[in-house]
């Protein structure tokens, strides 16, 4: 199965703690008005470190087969 990855930020859940910013190995994030955002002219390598340490689940890597995984779960439930 091929999956394409994408970084998603859910600003509504971000509390601006700066943890993801501090531990992103690429310096690809910054805070603006107490919300996280992608920093211009930097590269995100989709390593997922931000997702692992975000205490608020506000930043994560989405894989393209998301919908499929979800439906599988709903069916097995």
């Amino acid at each position: 199965m091929t999956t394409s990855k994408k970084l998603i930020i859910n600003s509504a859940w971000c509390k601006g703690c700066g943890i993801c910013v501090a531990f992103c190995p690429k310096g690809a994030l910054e805070l603006k008005d107490e919300k996280v955002q992608r920093k211009e002219d930097t590269e995100c390598v989709l390593c997922g470190m931000c997702e692992l340490r975000c205490p608020d689940y506000a930043i994560y890597i989405e894989e393209k087969d998301d919908e499929e995984a979800r439906n599988q779960w709903v069916m097995s439930y």
């Binding site: 859910n10 509390k15 703690c17 943890i19 997702e51 340490r53 205490p55 998301d66 979800r70």
Partner: protein, 289 residues
Amino acid sequence: MVNRGDVKQKDKQMSNLVYKYMRPEHLPHIWCPGCGNGIIMRDVAQAIENLGLSRNNTIIVSGIGCSSRAAGYLDFNTIHTTHGRAIAFATGIKLANPSLEVIVIAGDGDISAIGGNHLIHAARRNIGITVVVMNNNIYGMTGGQYSPTTPKGAFGTTAPYGNLDRPFDIAGLAYGAGASFAARGSAYHVQQTINIIQEGIHHSGFSLIDVASVCPTYYGRKNKSGSAVDMLKWQRDNMIPAEKAAKMEPSELKGKLVLGILHQVQYKEFTYAYDQLIKRLYEEREANE
């Protein structure tokens, strides 16, 4: 449990893991910005996912405290009990149905102050439950009173001149009381902590995982430990893997925390031993009839 069909894909601004194991209608959680509890709760969900546990067969039990709110956010069969008594409830649940995976999530005060007696006796009994401690070295929920894990000299609202008592090492306490699995993780060391929690759940006897959390709001402010980021950096720079620590002198380990599985042995799990006893008594009675 929530019918997840109600949460539409377009509203689903969360990872598959969060969607699958948490209650989206209760998110975002009420923990403070940078609180380590959110990281540790995700570790528990990831460990459960990695082990492929069934949601219906998994019970999350908590007491009272900021940390104990995890039972409200995780979507399993959950029970939010009274302060300090999570292990007592968990013991009842495990004895009623030993096939269940029973996981207690507790705070340092909950598990080692008011609930300290339940902890040592469940450890001694080796009942097959897993205890994950979100250890922030303070009473977070009630406003920053010192707890049994507050370091000597550290500050709390009830220790304005510095704490006089030496702290408990909760993993060491559980080990000393007879737990067959005692380990330490941290909010910073995510992958290692997920693995340790997984091992702890997989272990058949009593498992305790003391996870160093961070409470920037009370512990951090009272002790000038800086932001949540600074507190996590402290963990990064001061926690030593168990294998490495084993080769170090006690003096070199002063002020450090050891990370990993600290102690693991196999001996008979309590509900199994109880079951065997019942079988034996039935057999003896039949033989005598």
